[in-house]
C-alpha cells in the first residue's frame, strides 16, 4: 500500500504532465507581436506539436500571452481577462515592451514593466522575438510547470493588495468587479 504522500506525488506528476503538454493560449494581441503568433502556430514552426493551442475565451485558456506594448487603456482589459482565467494559469510577457517598455519606454501612455501589474512566469525578449524564441519561451514555461514552480494564480491571490495598488495607480477610474473566491 502506498501512502498518501506518494499517491499525491503520482497524482501531481500526472496533472503536471498533462498541464505541461496541453497549453491553451489566450493570445492577447496587443501591439506588433500579434503577427508572430500565426507564424508560430502554422506549418513552419507548428506549436501544436507541444500541445500549444489557441483558446477563444479566457474561460478555456491556461496561458495569457501579452504580445507587445500595453497601453493603459488596454491594461484594464488585460487585468479583466487575467482575472477571468481559471487556475492554474500562466502569463507570458512577449517582447521588450512588456519587459521594460522597449521603444516606448518614455511614452506617456504605455506601461513599462508588466510584472508590476500581473504576475509573469516567463518573459520572451526581442523586438519582436522570432517564433523560435517564442517556442523556447513556451518550453521554459513547460519546465516550470513540470517542476511545479509556475504558481501564477497563487502569487496573484497572495499579493493582491500590492498588485491592486499598482493597477489603481494607472487606472484612476476603477470600476471593476472584485476578484473573489
Amino acid at each position: 500500500m502506498i501512502n498518501d504522500k506518494d499517491s499525491q506525488k503520482i497524482v501531481d506528476y500526472i496533472q503536471n504532465f498533462s498541464r505541461k503538454h496541453s497549453l491553451f493560449v489566450m493570445a492577447y494581441g496587443t501591439g506588433c507581436g500579434a503577427i508572430e503568433i500565426p507564424a508560430t502556430m502554422t506549418s513552419r514552426y507548428d506549436a501544436e506539436r507541444f500541445g500549444i493551442r489557441g483558446a477563444a475565451t479566457p474561460r478555456q485558456a491556461d496561458v495569457l500571452l501579452i504580445t507587445g506594448y500595453l497601453a493603459t487603456k488596454t491594461l484594464k482589459r488585460v487585468i479583466r481577462v487575467y482575472e477571468q482565467m481559471q487556475e492554474p494559469k500562466y502569463v507570458i510577457g512577449f517582447g521588450s515592451c512588456t519587459i521594460n517598455g522597449g521603444m516606448y519606454y518614455d511614452s506617456y501612455n504605455t506601461i513599462n514593466a508588466l510584472e508590476q501589474y500581473i504576475p509573469v512566469d516567463v518573459y520572451i525578449n526581442g523586438c519582436m522575438p522570432r517564433p523560435e524564441s517564442v517556442i523556447s519561451g513556451f518550453i521554459k514555461l513547460q519546465e516550470l510547470i513540470q517542476q511545479g514552480k509556475a504558481d501564477n494564480g497563487k502569487r496573484y491571490r497572495e499579493n493582491l493588495e500590492w498588485y491592486r495598488t499598482n493597477q489603481k495607480k494607472i487606472i484612476k477610474n476603477w470600476k471593476m468587479p472584485d476578484y473573489n473566491w
Binding site: S18, R19, S22, T57, Q60, Q86, P88
Partner: protein, 314 residues
C-alpha cells in the same frame, strides 16, 4: 441478478470503450490535419492530455443552475443513446438496455444533449453563446431533413424501425444496405457532414468570430465533461452509420472472446473509414454561412433522400 450485473458491467465497458475510441479518433484527426497542413502535429493522445488538464483545473466558473447542468445533459444524451445502439451484432459483451434500438427514439434522444447545452449556454448571458446556439439549431433543421429521409427510407424498405433488425437483415442477406439503397446512404452521408460540425459547417463555434460560440463561457471541468460527452457522441454517430449502412460489426453466430475482438476490429476499421469522410471534406472546404449551410442540406442531399425514399417504396 447475475444477468443484471453482467448488463451493468457491459454498460460501463461500452461507455469506456466509446469514450476511448472517440477521444483517440479526435486525436488522430488532429494529427492527420496537421500532416495535411505540412505540420508535425500533436501526438494522437493529445485529447486525453487536454481532458486531464481540464479536469484538474483548480477553479471553475458556474453561471447558475442550467449552466452548471449543461454538461450533465450532454453526458445523459450520449450515454443513453449508447445504451440503445447495438455495438456488436448479438454479442454478450456489449449488452444494451433495449436490444432493438428504436430509430425514432434515437433520433429524438440525440437532440436531448443539444437542448441542454443550448439552455446552459443561454444562461451564461454571453451573447456569443446565444448566437452560436441559434446557428446550431438552425443548421440542425437543415441536416435532419436528409437524415430523416434516409432513415425513413430504410424503415419503409425493410419494415422495421429497429437497428438490430436492420443489422440482422444485412447479416442474413450478405449485402450491406449501402448497396441496396445507395441514395439513402448518400443522403445520410451528407447529413453527417453537418452532424460532425467540421468545416465547412463549423460556423456554430467559429473560434475567432464567435469566441467558440456556445462553449464560450465554459472552462475547466465543464469543458472537460462536454468533451467527454462529445467524444462518446461522435463514436455513437459513427456506430449508428456503420450499423445501418455498412453491415455493422460482429457475428451473432460466434460470440467467443476472439470473435468479439475481431468484431471490435472490424467496427474500428469501418467507423474510422466513415469518419474520414467529413474530415476529408472539411480539409478542402472554407466555411459556409448558416443560411448557405441550410440551403446546402435542402438541396442535393434532400433530393437524394427523396430518391432514396421513392426507391424504398417502389
Amino acid at each position: 441478478m447475475e444477468d443484471l450485473g453482467l448488463k451493468i458491467f457491459g454498460a460501463i465497458l461500452t461507455t469506456i470503450m466509446a469514450f476511448a475510441v472517440g477521444m483517440t479518433y479526435g486525436g488522430i484527426v488532429r494529427k492527420l490535419t496537421a500532416r495535411v497542413q505540412n505540420r508535425f502535429g500533436p501526438p494522437f493522445y493529445q485529447n486525453f492530455l487536454d481532458l486531464v488538464k481540464l479536469q484538474s483545473k483548480k477553479t471553475n466558473i458556474a453561471h447558475g443552475f442550467m449552466g452548471h447542468t449543461a454538461p450533465v445533459w450532454i453526458i445523459i444524451a450520449s450515454i443513453t443513446v449508447l445504451m440503445f445502439i447495438p455495438i456488436l451484432n448479438g454479442n454478450l459483451w456489449f449488452p444494451n438496455l433495449n436490444f432493438h434500438g428504436d430509430l425514432i427514439f434515437i433520433l429524438y434522444m440525440m437532440v436531448f444533449g443539444s437542448l441542454g447545452m443550448a439552455l446552459g449556454a443561454g444562461q451564461t448571458g454571453n451573447p456569443n453563446s446565444a448566437i452560436g446556439v441559434t446557428r446550431g439549431l438552425s443548421m440542425m433543421v437543415g441536416y435532419e431533413i436528409p437524415f430523416v429521409l434516409a432513415l425513413v427510407a430504410l424503415m419503409v424498405q425493410y419494415h422495421t424501425t429497429s437497428i438490430q433488425d436492420l443489422m440482422q437483415i444485412q447479416h442474413e442477406s450478405g449485402t450491406w444496405l449501402i448497396f441496396s439503397n445507395p441514395f439513402a446512404f448518400l443522403a445520410a452521408l451528407f447529413a453527417s457532414l453537418g452532424m460532425f460540425r467540421y468545416s465547412p459547417f463549423d460556423i456554430v463555434g467559429a473560434p475567432a468570430e464567435l469566441a467558440s460560440g456556445p462553449m464560450s463561457e465554459f472552462g475547466g471541468k465543464y469543458l472537460g465533461t462536454m468533451m467527454t460527452g462529445g467524444s462518446i457522441f461522435s463514436f455513437i454517430k459513427l456506430t449508428l452509420y456503420v450499423d445501418l449502412f455498412l453491415g455493422g460489426a460482429g457475428n451473432p453466430d460466434h460470440i467467443g472472446i476472439w470473435a468479439t475482438l475481431a468484431g471490435i476490429g472490424v467496427l474500428l476499421i469501418k467507423t474510422f473509414t466513415l469518419y474520414m469522410v467529413p474530415v476529408f471534406y472539411g480539409w478542402v472546404s472554407p466555411r459556409y454561412r448558416t443560411e448557405q449551410a441550410i440551403r446546402y442540406f435542402w438541396g442535393w442531399p434532400t433530393a437524394l433522400g427523396i430518391i432514396g425514399l421513392i426507391w424504398a417504396v417502389y
